[in-house]
Structures are given as structure tokens and as C-alpha cells.
């Protein structure tokens, strides 16, 4: 029974070939939906993206632990917690999830599916954005309940959130695509913690010595929390300085990730 004499039948069988890629929008939507479900189903991810920001917001608003300056504590805290939410999803969550997807061969398997690589990255970004929308809604509702009175230009807020997401995504993917999954897990959590403390999220930067402030002010988390605070708490116009810092981080991070990311 060599292939020459006993040729396989073709036609109406169950497995008869009928190849074809699904339309791109459908593939990207399916991928984004799956990634979002994976994220929302993961307990550790929820701890980072929902529980910790919510807890910090409620705790620091209710108890006078740090000096948040003049005015209501929640007016100082809410913008910082929004920045933290963006960092937790775009950086920490995305880095850890992508690191393990690389480790478990998910990225390798998807690489031979009809979904192109840029489609996968688009889906990941959409999934991050969907998660962030949910986070922003949650934080906003809780903060309003705590007496938050936000000011400022919504467009400036949106621009800050988008650039912040781009900056943190670049850094998260850079980490996930170059380190081992376990190293990414450890490093992403450590960076999250350090930036939470030193990035103006709940502790005002002016609590630090001037020299430290100059350096910390250049971090993406400080630019994001500072920019959001200027707009939402003080009603400032476009925070160009902070936007510029975030843009530099975004370009550098995404370029480095694009160049150094290893799929296997």
C-alpha cells in the first residue's frame, strides 16, 4: 500500500480539507476576548489589578497614614490609584502573562495559526485596554463614593492613560520577551512594589529628598501619577512635561521590545 497505488480519497469526508483563515477582525476579537478571560480568571492577576488598587484607595482615604497635602485625601489618592491600575495591567499583568505564554509554548503555537503576529499584539493591547476600562470604572465609582471631586480636561486624562499604557506595555513585553518566566514573575512584582512606593502613587514625591525626587520624577509611573494629579486634582491644562516623559518611555520600551523579544 504505497502512496502511489492507494491514493487517499478526497471529497465529502468529515476531515476533507477546507482551509482558510477567519476574517482578521474576527480573529483579533476572538484573541482579545480569550486573553481578557484568561486575565480575569487568574487569581494573582486580579489581586494585582483589582484588589490592591481598591484596597489602597479605601485604606489610605479612610486612615491618615501619609501626609497627602491640603484637601481631601481621596482627591490626592484617586489619580495615583488610576496610574497604579494602568501599571498593574499594562506592565505587571501583561509581563507575567506573556512570560508564561512564552514558556508554555502558547506564543509558539499561535505563531503557526492564521493569526499574524501583529494581530496577536493588537489583541493583547485590546485586552489590556478592556481591562483598564473596567479598572478605571471601578476606581472612579469607589473614589466618587469616598467623596472624590475630579477636575480638568478629560482629553488630557485620556491622553495620559493611553501614553502610560503604551509606556508600560513596552516595558512589560520587553521583560516578558527576554527573561525566563519565573524571573519575569519575580521582577515584575518587585518593580510593581518599588514603583508603587517611589512613584507618587500613594506617597507624595515631595516626601523624598530633592535628589531622589529629580530621578523618581522621570519614572513613567511618576509622570503618569503626577500628570493625572495635576489635571484631576488641580485642574491643570495639558501636562506636556509628563506626556513627553511617557512618550519617551513608550518609544524606547516598544522599540526595545520589538527588537529583543524572543518568541520561544
Amino acid at each position: 500500500m504505497s502512496a502511489g497505488t492507494d491514493t487517499p480519497a478526497t471529497g465529502g469526508g468529515t476531515y476533507a480539507p477546507r482551509p482558510g483563515a477567519a476574517p482578521l477582525p474576527r480573529m483579533i476579537a476572538a484573541q482579545a476576548a480569550l486573553e481578557t478571560r484568561m486575565l480575569l480568571r487568574n487569581g494573582e492577576q486580579l489581586l494585582l489589578t483589582v484588589v490592591i488598587p481598591t484596597l489602597l484607595l479605601v485604606l489610605f482615604s479612610a486612615v491618615d497614614i501619609v501626609d497627602t497635602g491640603e484637601g481631601k485625601a481621596v482627591d490626592f489618592l484617586a489619580p495615583g490609584i488610576l496610574a497604579l491600575a494602568v501599571m498593574s495591567t499594562a506592565f505587571t499583568g501583561q509581563a507575567i502573562a506573556t512570560g508564561f505564554e512564552r514558556r508554555y509554548g502558547v506564543l509558539k503555537r499561535l505563531a503557526v495559526s492564521p493569526l499574524p503576529r501583529w494581530g496577536l499584539m493588537t489583541a493583547k493591547t485590546l485586552s489590556v485596554l478592556v481591562t483598564e476600562v473596567l479598572q478605571v470604572l471601578l476606581v472612579t465609582v469607589i473614589a466618587l463614593a469616598l467623596g472624590w471631586s475630579p477636575h480638568g480636561n478629560p482629553l488630557a486624562v485620556l491622553l495620559l492613560l493611553v501614553l502610560g499604557t503604551a509606556a508600560f506595555s513596552g516595558l512589560g513585553l520587553l521583560m516578558a520577551g527576554t527573561l525566563k518566566a519565573e524571573a519575569t514573575l519575580a521582577a515584575a512584582n518587585l518593580v510593581f512594589l518599588l514603583l508603587l512606593v517611589g512613584g507618587g502613587v500613594v506617597v507624595p514625591l515631595d516626601e523624598f529628598p530633592q535628589a531622589a525626587q529629580d530621578v523618581l520624577g522621570l519614572l513613567p509611573i511618576s509622570a503618569l501619577s503626577g500628570g493625572l494629579r495635576d489635571v484631576l486634582q488641580h485642574g491643570a491644562g495639558m501636562p506636556w512635561g509628563d506626556l513627553a516623559i511617557l512618550a519617551v518611555w513608550a518609544v524606547a520600551g516598544l522599540a526595545a521590545a520589538g527588537k529583543l523579544f524572543r518568541w520561544e
Binding site: 504505497s2 480519497a9 476533507a16 480539507p17 482551509p19
Partner: protein, 307 residues
């Protein structure tokens, strides 16, 4: 169309660091089932991954369904199905969820429920991947390879670590794929798998194809098949040889242990036993040995297949 090669590899060389994984490999696979057989580390996975577009050859060319798997990946990917040796699934994804997802990436996927049922995954559809047994994970990976209704499926050691029952279920599916016109390239280090399934077998050793042909051709091409029996020592083998067809051989290997070589068929077996009856010999431990791919491999490389 049908006899156009589905895979054509010419002079493929692939090195990792200082190690040469594939060393000038030539392989042509046509429609049907092609088994790439070889010991661990022979270069099977590297060869298959070159066909899947994972790695760019250091030299040589690879064509799959007439396409360059690296440069024409976008055109090729929807037409092939891939089962990796392990992994490939989100650890938190449920079996049916992942399969449904892969189905959604294709234009005309198979019915997911029927496929899960067919592969015995129906009962674990809600179980997260990380909690599936090794065999269930393997079958899910197989389902993911075929759900998009590809023309050509690559299976990298599809039955490694499966129990006999699951192994047979996998073989049955592979045979059904073939019957419906899907071509299959599978790697294995089980010679029985290659013998059972393949229309064509390519034996790989140290990064090269050392033999290729149908299992029958390969087994025929090796040393002659033999018939062995035991009897009292000192039988007249010259007389036995006279009774046998012209191109046969007969010898007493050790006292009382005889070997007959040549075209071993039922007629020859009857001739030997008749001769024994005529000479008052009770042939004990009579056995016919067909050469297996394992013997062929041993002959070609001097190595055991299950390295």
C-alpha cells in the same frame, strides 16, 4: 495535483550554536502519511519545525505545499495544522475553550463538539489545561492541529507517553484524516507506529535521511528474512537445501539450531516441515522472522532506534 510533493526539503542545514542539528537533509513527502523516524536527537523536530516556518535554514531550501514556510508564512499557515511536542495552550484555558478558540481563527472549522467527543475529551471540556492528564493534553493538541480543516498536518511525536488505548485512538484519527484526503507528516521513534500508519517512511540519523520508502520496501531492502527452527543436531542441510527454492540458504548455526534464509512464504514453510516429516525430525521452536524497521535502522546506523 495529488502526486505533487506536499513537502520538499533540499540540502537542509540547521545549526544551533556549535551543534549541527540537521546536516544536509533531503526529504520529499507526497500525499498520504509520511513518518519521520529516528532516535532522539536525530533532527526530526528541527526538520519538522523548518517546514512549519519556525526556523530559517542555515542553507538549503524548504517548500511546503509549494510555499516557502518563512517568507510565505501568511499564505501557508491557514493550510497547515501543527501539533507541537508539548504545550501550546494557556495554562488556565479549558480544553473546549482553547479548541473553540483555534476553530474561530479558521474560516471553515470542524464541529468542535464532535471532535472533542471523537477524541474522548468530552468529559474534560471544562477542566483547565494544567489539570488535564498528559494523554488528554496530547489529544487536545492533536485536536487543535486538525480543527481548522488543513490540507497538511504536522504531528511531532503524537503518541509519546500515551497509553495503548489512547494511542490507537490517535492512530484511528490519523487514518481517517488520510482517508479524507489530508496529508500527514509525523515524527516518531516508535517503529511500530511508522509501520502501522505510514505510506512512506524516512529514517533520519544524525541530521540526515539514511533511507526512505514504504515500510515494505524498507524491510525488503534489508537483509533477507529468515526462518529458524530447532531439531536434533547434525541434520543433513544439503538435503534440505535441495528441497528448497534455488535462491534459499540453509545452515546449522549451532548444534541443533537451524536457519533458513530466502523468500519466506507459506510454501517455503510447508517445504521445510515436509522435509522434516520425511526425515523424522520434530522441528521445535519454529519461527519466521520478518525484518522490522528496527532491524533496518540498526543495519543502517548500527544504533538502537529507541536511543
Amino acid at each position: 495535483m495529488r502526486n505533487d510533493p506536499v513537502v520538499q526539503v533540499c540540502g537542509l542545514v540547521k545549526r544551533y550554536g556549535g551543534k549541527t542539528a540537521v546536516d544536509g537533509l533531503d526529504l520529499v513527502a507526497r500525499a498520504g502519511i509520511t513518518a519521520v523516524l529516528g532516535p532522539n536527537g536525530a533532527g526530526k523536530t528541527t526538520t519538522v519545525e523548518s517546514c512549519e516556518g519556525y526556523c530559517r535554514p542555515d542553507s538549503g531550501t524548504v517548500r511546503v505545499l509549494g510555499l516557502d514556510p518563512v517568507r510565505e508564512a501568511a499564505a501557508l499557515r491557514p493550510r497547515i495544522g501543527v501539533m507541537l511536542q508539548s504545550g501550546g495552550v494557556y495554562s488556565g484555558a479549558r480544553a473546549d475553550e482553547m479548541l473553540r478558540h483555534v476553530a474561530r481563527l479558521h474560516a471553515h472549522p470542524l464541529d468542535v463538539a464532535a471532535l472533542t467527543e471523537r477524541l474522548g475529551l468530552g468529559s474534560c471540556g471544562r477542566t483547565p489545561y494544567r489539570r488535564l492528564s498528559g494523554g488528554q493534553q496530547q489529544r487536545l493538541a492533536l485536536a487543535m492541529a486538525v480543527v481548522g480543516r488543513p490540507e497538511l498536518v504536522f504531528l511531532d511525536e503524537p503518541t509519546a507517553g500515551l497509553d495503548p488505548q489512547a494511542r490507537r485512538a490517535t492512530w484511528d484519527l490519523v487514518r481517517d484524516l488520510r482517508a479524507d484526503g489530508v496529508s500527514v507528516i509525523l515524527t516518531t521513534h516508535h517503529m511500530d507506529e511508522a509501520e502501522q500508519l505510514a505510506d512512506d517512511v524516512a529514517i533520519i540519523d544524525a541530521g540526515k535521511v539514511v533511507a526512505q520508502g514504504s515500510p515494505e520496501e524498507l524491510c525488503r531492502g534489508g537483509a533477507e528474512n529468515t526462518l529458524r527452527f530447532s531439531g536434533r543436531p547434525g541434520l543433513d542441510v544439503t538435503s534440505l537445501l535441495k528441497a528448497l527454492p534455488a535462491d534459499s540458504t540453509a545452515a546449522e548455526l549451532t548444534p541443533g539450531s537451524y536457519r533458513v534464509g530466502g523468500k519466506i512464504d507459506p510454501q517455503l514453510l510447508a517445504t521445510v516441515t515436509t522435509w522434516c516429516a520425511q526425515h523424522g525430525v520434530m522441528p521445535e521452536k519454529i519461527s519466521v522472522e520478518r525484518h522490522t524497521l528496527e532491524d533496518v535502522f540498526l543495519e543502517l546506523t548500527g544504533k538502537e532506534l529507541r536511543g
